[in-house]
């Protein structure tokens, strides 16, 4: 038996964006190994590459150089159908910009990922309603995104990411638009998923409540990993970092 395969492995990942002939080095050699069931927080100033890194791990963008492994599977080596399945079933991505479909109601948005796994309509609808209730939107099922507040849209995005019981959750500042109490409820929800189901959580955040419950914290700066710390004794240094 070999050693356990990590949920996510990032090997020397670079990402260069080309903007009007200029190169933007968003990621410059990231290495990261995330075991199953870990709660990993990713911190870093704005523009440090958090979203870019998440896009690579979530399989929605390709690194310029380097490799991403999900459960030991090299994302650059699998066909696009398999990639679609990974995005659908394996990974739940809570986008920083939500990316809800404007013409669909909250419930339909949440049900969408289940459509691609062949879940029957009645079941999709019911599960979507349950998930929305969990995030506190049980009374907003038939509202469209434009009829919801920013924080409510964010919670629809969270519910949608949970739709197919993903093994890995990528949460890009999931409490960014939420008040203290609602934010705390989401933190607890993510923690419960990790504790009860062994879901791997990767969460970009500036929120100390989230840092507090994470197993490790990765600090990004200018597209590189500046530091990785275990949770213990972290709160202080996190505050330092914020300065």
């Amino acid at each position: 038996m070999g050693e356990a395969v990590s949920a996510v492995k990032v090997v020397d990942v670079h990402k260069i964006y080309h903007l009007k002939g200029e190169e933007v080095h968003a990621l410059q050699g990231i290495n990261l190994e995330i075991p199953h069931g870990e709660y990993l927080s990713v911190m870093g100033p704005s523009g440090s590459g958090k979203t870019t890194l998440f896009n690579m791990i979530g399989g929605i963008d390709r690194p310029t150089k380097g490799d991403i492994f999900i459960d030991g599977v090299d994302l650059s080596k699998i066909p696009s159908r398999a990639m679609a399945w990974l995005r659908c079933q394996k990974i739940g991505y809570i986008f920083q910009t939500f990316n809800l479909i404007p013409v669909l109601t909250a419930r339909e948005n949440v049900a969408l990922p289940m459509t691609f796994l062949g879940v029957p309509k009645a079941e999709r609808q019911q599960r979507a309603a349950e998930l929305l209730t969990i995030v506190g939107l049980g009374d907003r099922l038939d509202h469209r995104p434009t009829e919801l507040s920013g924080g409510q849209q964010q919670r629809v995005a969270i519910a949608r990411a949970l739709a197919n019981n993903p093994a890995i959750i990528l949460a890009d500042e999931p409490t960014g638009n939420l008040d203290l109490n609602t934010g705390f409820a989401i933190v607890q929800l993510l923690y419960r998923l990790k504790a009860e189901r062994g879901t791997t959580i990767i969460c970009a955040t500036h929120d100390l409540k989230m840092i507090d419950i994470s197993d490790r914290v990765v600090f990004l700066r200018d597209g590189t990993v500046e530091n990785i710390e275990k949770r213990r004794g972290l709160v202080l240094s996190a505050e330092e970092f914020e300065e």
Binding site: D61, R62, A84, R87
Partner: protein
């Protein structure tokens, strides 16, 4: 600081890593069809506008073609060259209108394409969804447009030249009328699908991240 006390004590279940299996997307064409229908229903006004521009183009074309039959019947035969030119212009006007509105209706939804790809749609699923939608709108606009174009032309001539009604409605002409209507519907569907295919193929192949960033 320790984690929240209230959390259940169950150990994280390590997932079985021995046999990492990749599953597959289940989104049969019947589901794509339902998705497209729903999509049209959801943006009904927008879909109507697209279908309407198909309708107008085809109505114009079929009207010109129908005139080509009716004019000789009422002893006003125009020079044949003139008729050919009219047919070509009709086809162009109709084609440009359809292609333009279909291109727009897909490109304005690149962000949505990016989103559904992030949620599990394969390239093929995206194509199916958008081509079925284009086909439905093309057929809808084509059927109504062809019938309206033919209907309006014949009715106008029957009113203006009542003495020729028998000739215009002579059963032998109906074979040609139906052929024109059929051609109109065919062209509408074909052009719609072809015009939607171009941006849809492009968008389906983009990285989801790129499609999400796309601004029309």
């Amino acid at each position: 600081m320790s984690p929240k006390k209230k959390e259940p004590k169950t150990e994280p279940k390590p997932q079985n890593t021995a046999d990492v299996k990749i599953g597959s997307i289940k989104f049969p064409i019947s589901e794509a069809f339902r998705f497209s229908l729903e999509s049209i229903r959801k943006r009904f006004t927008r879909a109507l506008i697209t279908a309407f521009s198909v309708l107008l183009g085809i109505a114009f074309m079929v009207a010109i073609m129908t005139m080509g039959i009716i004019l000789p019947l009422i002893d006003q035969t125009p020079p044949p060259q003139y008729q050919t030119w009219m047919a070509i212009i009709a086809l162009l006007v109709c084609g440009v209108g359809i292609v333009n509105s279909m291109l727009m209706s897909v490109t304005e939804r690149y962000k949505e394409i990016g989103t559904i790809k992030c949620l599990g749609a394969t390239d093929t699923n995206v194509l199916q969804i958008f081509l079925i939608e284009a086909l439905l709108l093309g057929v809808l606009g084509g059927v109504i447009g062809a019938c309206a174009g033919w209907g309006a032309t014949t009715v106008i001539y029957m009113i203006n030249q009542p003495q020729y009604v028998d000739r215009i409605l002579n059963t032998t002409n109906f074979v040609t009328y139906f052929t024109y209507i059929g051609e109109g519907i065919g062209i509408a569907s074909l052009l719609s699908v072809a015009a939607a295919a171009y941006p849809a193929v492009y968008a389906a192949r983009l990285n989801p991240a790129e499609a999400l960033r796309y601004e029309v």
